[in-house]
Amino acid sequence: MNYSKPIPEITLLTEPFWEGLRSKELRMQACSQCSVLRFIPKEVCPDCSSVDYVWQQVSGLGMVYSYTTIHGGVGPAFRDDLPFVTVIVELDEGPRVMSHLINCLPDAVEIGMRVSVVFEDATEELTLYKFEPHDAGR
């Protein structure tokens, strides 16, 4: 597959996240001590400072916390996609996630709109997580 956009740096810490995506699962770290979920991956729980955690699948459902339609000022890899919508989604489980909103006209986006995760294979090794309006797939 020919994927020309930036590829994530996958580390020992973040590998389970990317591995989950390959099996169409959105996973986050859950603190073993206080159960709080966190994203992006961190070694320490920001709520209780515990270093113990497990990876837990989340629903992939949430709402648009904020968004912007990008019209320019991007690198060559994204130019063909203009305009596109970058979002920060607040998942039902709490953490916020930056991504792209797809299957939605830019004018139709609004804060608070329900969205759900969509998995997109970028390469054989890399699956990405994007979001679409929650009713889009029905």
């Binding site: 992006i40 912007t68 339609t69 019209h71 000022g73 690198g75 804060i111």
Partner: protein
């Protein structure tokens, strides 16, 4: 400050040298007087050894800060501490960029986005736009209110002969709203310049400063604030570390917001000024749009902000937060020419770096 602009025929090193030598000449000091340095070197080179190489001096103090575009200017607090404790007598804080500047090139030594932002082609405009959008949602702020920031900056730039955009003339709220959309709701004129340039700050003890050729300006208060690194983990998208930075700075200075005659606030994007005015306590949270409306932050308004034209219309070259300090010092010295604020005694600086991660506040006064 050096000339600001494309400077495509100059190396960053030459702009850097001009910054250092120009600031020293202004202060009436020589390179051999310097024994401390803070900030970042040309194009991110190591600072202390590089400075020794270039100017043939021995340094006994150095510090590097990671506050993005405000890396140089936030260093004034550290310089003050080092000078007070006797670890240095004269500290220089230079910044410079030159040559071919690429959009997105880094000169500040600041926060870098993680893979979780990078893969989406996210850039500062996108993050600032999402903060603006959230501010509009939470508080009813409008694009026209944001545009007031750019209008004020341009007006000030027209009174600043050294500014990059001054000669283009005034712009109106309508001009901003009709300019090309970059990252909705931010239009082209809501976004800072991309240019090169340099400048430097020299700091020393009051005892020594009072014998120098220029009017000494006192750093009365200073503070920093950090609440997150990745915008996804920020506790809020409309209020950041500026709250704690300003609270600390005002507590140290022992003055109130009403005492401030002029302010300089990082304006990488118009939304910064609105958010930082709120976070610094010049108005309540969510009241920034009303606060800046009707020319209130223009010269002659209730609080002139970015009287040099800011990053939007003066310069966004090098660690540009430094120019904010330079302008406030000029205002306090009474050297601001056509854009001079009358009876200017107390000034407030608020710098942000990265995408709101790094924040510092400082208060300056005449002796």
């Amino acid at each position: 400050m050096t000339e600001q602009g494309k400077l495509s025929d100059r190396t960053a090193g030459s702009v850097y040298a001009e910054s250092v030598l120009g600031a020293l000449a202004d202060a009436g000091l020589g390179v051999k007087d310097i024994d401390g340095i803070i900030g970042t070197g040309p194009e991110g080179a190591g600072i202390a050894g590089d400075f020794s190489d270039n100017f043939g001096v021995t340094l006994r103090f150095q510090a590097q800060t990671g506050v993005g575009a405000s890396s140089s200017s936030s260093g004034i607090g550290i310089a003050a501490m080092a000078i007070e404790r006797g670890y240095a007598d004269v500290v220089i804080i230079p910044t410079a960029s030159g040559g071919a500047i690429r959009p997105g090139s880094r000169t500040g030594g600041g926060p870098t986005p993680s893979s979780f932002e990078h893969i989406w082609g996210s850039n500062p405009a996108a993050v600032y736009a999402m903060a603006a959008r959230r501010h509009m949602y939470e508080y009813g702020t409008t694009p026209a209110q944001l545009a007031e920031v750019a209008v004020a900056a341009r007006k000030h730039a027209t009174l600043n002969p050294a500014s990059v955009m001054g000669e283009r003339g005034l712009i109106s709220v309508e001009d901003v709203l009709e300019s090309r959309m970059i990252a909705d709701p931010l239009h082209l004129y809501d976004c800072c310049l991309v240019n090169a340039g340099g400048g430097a700050i020299v700091m020393t003890t009051m005892e020594r400063a009072q014998d120098l050729r220029t009017t000494p300006i006192v750093l009365m208060g200073w503070g920093e604030g950090f609440t997150f690194h990745d915008i996804m983990t920020a506790p809020s998208m409309t209020s950041f570390g500026g709250v704690v930075a300003a609270t600390t700075a005002f507590a140290h200075a022992g003055i109130s917001r009403d005492d401030i005659d002029v302010a300089g606030i990082s304006d990488h994007f118009s939304i910064n000024v609105l958010i930082e005015l709120e976070d610094a306590g010049f108005c309540g949270k969510g009241e920034g749009g009303d606060f800046i409306a009707g020319g209130a932050i223009q010269l002659g308004g209730r609080l002139p902000v970015n009287t040099d034209g800011g990053f939007l219309s003066n310069s966004h070259g090098g660690g540009c937060g430094l120019y904010t300090v330079v302008e406030l010092v000029r205002q306090l010295r009474g050297e601001a020419g056509e854009r001079q604020v009358e009876n200017c005694n107390l000034a407030y600086a608020h710098g942000t770096g990265g995408t709101f991660q790094g924040q510092y506040a400082a208060i300056f006064g005449r002796r």
